[in-house]
Amino acid sequence: MRRISALLLAACVLGSLLSAAVEPSHAQGIPQNIPRKDLLILENPEGTVKNAGWFNIWVINASSQSNGLQQVALDTLWYIDPESGLDGVWDNSLAADKPQYNADFTEMTAKLRSGIFWSDGVEFTADDVVATVMTQIMNPAMRFSAVLASNVASVEAPDPHTVVFKLKKPNSRFHTNFTVRWGAVWILPKHVFDKVEDPVKFDFNKPVSLGAYVLHSYDPDGKWYIWQLRDDWQRTTLARFGKPGPKYLAYVDPGPPDKRVIAQLNHELDVIHDIAPEGMFALAKQSKTTRAWFKGFPYGHPDPTLPAVIFNTQNENFKNPDVRWALALLIDIKAVAMAAYRGAATISAIGVPPTGTHPAAYHAPLEDWLKSFEIDTGKRKIKPYDPTVGKQIADMLRPSMGEQIPTDPAEIAKAFGRGWWKTDPVTAQELLEKAGFSKRGGTWVTPDGKPFTVRVMVEGDLRPVMTRAGTMIVQLWKQAGIDAKIDVAQGTLPTRRAAGDFDTFIGWSVETLGGHPDLSYFLDSWHSQFVAEPGKPQPLRNWQRWSSPALDKIIEEIRTVGFDDPKSTELGKDYVKLAVKEMPTIPLMAYNVFTAMDQTYWTGFPTAENPYTNPVPNWGNSRYMFVRLKPAS
């Protein structure tokens, strides 16, 4: 009996300890001593920051950028909004006006605002901009050293509110380096960095803010950062739009996707950066206060990025555009949208993301051209475009999703996209045969007589939606008799992508500004001058290593045309048509980010009905959200 009583005693002690430890966990997952109604909690998608006490964003890879540092503590000359912006797409932030170029784009002048102060009381002047450029040029391994050193011949501040850049070669888009589209060259404080011997080894802790918030406290283990509104917030550029609503901001690491959903349901996480579509549906079903970008399906915010099947066009099998077209015609985009996003995807047949102002600038005007576009299979000519695919997806989902699916054609086009290529195995077969491939006993064989093998590289766990899309595409190609395999490059994708060590991969080589139709943000890097030899590393973004003299001509012309000139949009359309003919990549859909916003404590988030900025919390542009947020009452 002694042993039983011993065990009972132990159980009692353990039990009492446990019950003392439990209390409503409501107060467990949020910061102490800060009133919840003044606090906005957002997700930092970088997760747990390894080197938490480091705030010197100008050193490569030293620490976090999206823990609030780039969103609310730093500032730069201009912002360009991926949506419509608070007061138009273009915002002159530290600059007082748009950039002024000379006639041949070898000199850029920026006029700066006055009355902007750093959080330690020192005024912001042109010397800070000069210091930003010179410090990084003189220390070659800093974040923006390379881009500044290769462009800037000299930079001067003729007066405290003017900066003049002299460029090494003509560059009509030099200003985009100082224009925030997610991030940009952030301005560093001259008066702080002057006192530092080696800027590469300086941790900038406690950071001096140019933005509206200062660092309040942070976790040495890198799981949370708390920022507090400056008392002198009127002396920052954000003040032009009003006083930011939240007094405190907390950027946290909320853990795996399941946990993020739980955290928001417990009202301990106000803004989720991204979760799987199923998580989003579960949230929408279980929480009355959760709001996504779209009110109903497809919920997610389409980022100005275009996931596609990217071919390695230097690979023998994929040199021929007919082969690439055949593979495109074997893809059933409805199945891919269902597999990747459960249908909550905005498809795009052309090489421009269907988001921001692009549908109006590119997708709508080119619809007629697409409908009449023809390909020649060698035996006949067919028109591959089907303008009703977006509507088909909506119809497919309506039985199970009910009224969440819009019925208005304009709404459907906005939410689901317009058309895509018809699934046409017969034409695909004809194209492959035209290219010299043959079908032997149900499997395709290359002109050399080898089995036609295609590997589709995906990133696995790090980008689950892309992996799901890739798996579906592999299945579709396999059904057509092609030996297709999925190749999970967990963690190694950036290295292999740069090395060209792949047949195809699911990723993106198209990224745009979103709110502005200019495509050179990505298109300039597609010039053949940047295409690497097979076996050598390819700089971004032309992962498909495609060179085309026709494309080079378009790019060179864009370089000579001003940023806001409507001619650059016309040239953009020429690029779209060329890419459709050649199909160097198979565009699939916009990168939908399932950002979920909890309206229990705060309202006024940007949405599709009110698209004043991008709510995705790791974007520098998300700062404009804070001036519109009001406490929910």
Partner: protein, 334 residues
């Protein structure tokens, strides 16, 4: 005792040899990784920015110089060993220029604390239950407990951890499910902070213990079933010694010796960290540090954590080998 002293000397030599070989293997495997830290840094910088392609080559060279990746492989190897002997692991390449030692220092107390406590509790509980179950063969209650322990053991750890999280963090939200301590509480030895740390450790520890008990239970049970067939146990039973006394002084004392071996090795192995625990409960520690380092191709950090782990386990094994002859008098060191 000169036999023992000689034994200690030989064992120490073996220890040094094993550590040396282990670190070398880690070095070779890490550097055989196809992940290039320079490329990872570059892609991290450029994936979200507009960086001109010709600038990337410049960046690549500057980074290579900065990270100290120049020089032939032999030179790098020698530099590495020179540094290690001064207990300097160099800078972390994925969190440059913070020294690897600093990063490890921050994560280590969390891992060591959580895993030491969970391992010890699981060991005590498992051996206790295993011993009882092995001795009192007929007891239904103990058999049932055995089945429960064995039932929990094969549950994939991730599932169990998530179940606990959902149960105690969501359905009946009474325990904290995230972090090592409450947010915004300064890390000092105040009673408030210590209490918060303990609270936050309950769920992670519970998940580790539930999974760990099973293996100790099973081992102890079979060891005990061996021992009770021994003559001296039969003799004691026939002589009328109380069964509780037989269990503790005769059976467990003998059966426990191999289990102590296992304990020492488990304790040495805590420096591996518990990656899934850290992932699910957001607990800071070495495990996620290591996995992130492998992803980033951060040679210095991977080698740093691996070396600590190798040292930890080696010391554990060494301690056992030195203590074993003292514990079990039947073992003579030749």
């Amino acid at each position: 005792m000169s036999g023992y002293a000689g034994y200690v000397g030989r064992r120490l030599a073996q220890f040094l040899l094993v550590v040396f070989i282990g670190i070398n293997i880690a070095y070779v495997v890490t550097h055989a990784s196809p992940i290039d830290p320079v490329e990872q840094s570059i892609s991290a910088v450029t994936s979200f920015g507009n960086t001109a392609p010709d600038a990337i080559d410049q960046m690549r060279n500057s980074l290579r110089e900065l990270y100290g990746l120049g020089g032939t492989p032999v030179q790098q190897y020698l530099t590495f060993w020179k540094r290690i002997l001064r207990a300097d692991f160099g800078p972390s390449l994925s969190a440059f220029p913070t020294p690897v030692g600093t990063l490890i220092e921050r994560a280590l107390p969390w891992t060591a604390g959580l895993l030491t406590v969970s391992t010890l509790i699981a060991w005590v509980l498992g051996n206790l239950l295993g011993g009882l179950a092995g001795y009192y063969r007929q007891s239904r209650g103990l058999k049932l407990m055995g089945v429960i322990a064995m039932g929990l053991h094969p549950i994939p750890y991730y599932i169990l951890a998530m179940l606990l999280l959902i149960l105690f963090g969501f359905i009946w939200p009474v325990l904290p499910i995230s972090g090592g301590a409450t947010m915004n509480l300064p890390q000092s030895l105040t009673p408030e902070f210590v209490w918060s740390v303990l609270q936050h450790a309950i769920l992670p520890a519970l998940s580790l213990i539930l999974i760990g008990v099973g293996s100790w239970f099973l081992g102890m049970r079979s060891l005990v079933s061996n021992v009770i067939a021994e003559d001296y146990v039969v003799y004691a039973e026939l002589a009328g010694v109380k069964s509780w006394r037989i269990l503790t002084s005769y059976v467990m004392r003998n059966a426990l010796v191999p289990q102590v071996t296992g304990l020492a090795m488990s304790l040495g192995g805590i420096f591996n960290g518990a990656v899934i625990t850290e992932k699910v409960f957001g607990y800071p520690g070495l495990g996620s540090l290591l996995v992130d380092a492998v992803y980033a191709g951060d040679y210095g950090l991977v080698l740093g954590v691996t070396t600590i782990s190798i040292l930890g386990v080696s010391v554990g094994v060494l301690a056992i080998d030195l203590l074993y002859p003292l514990l079990d008098p039947r073992v003579k060191v030749s």
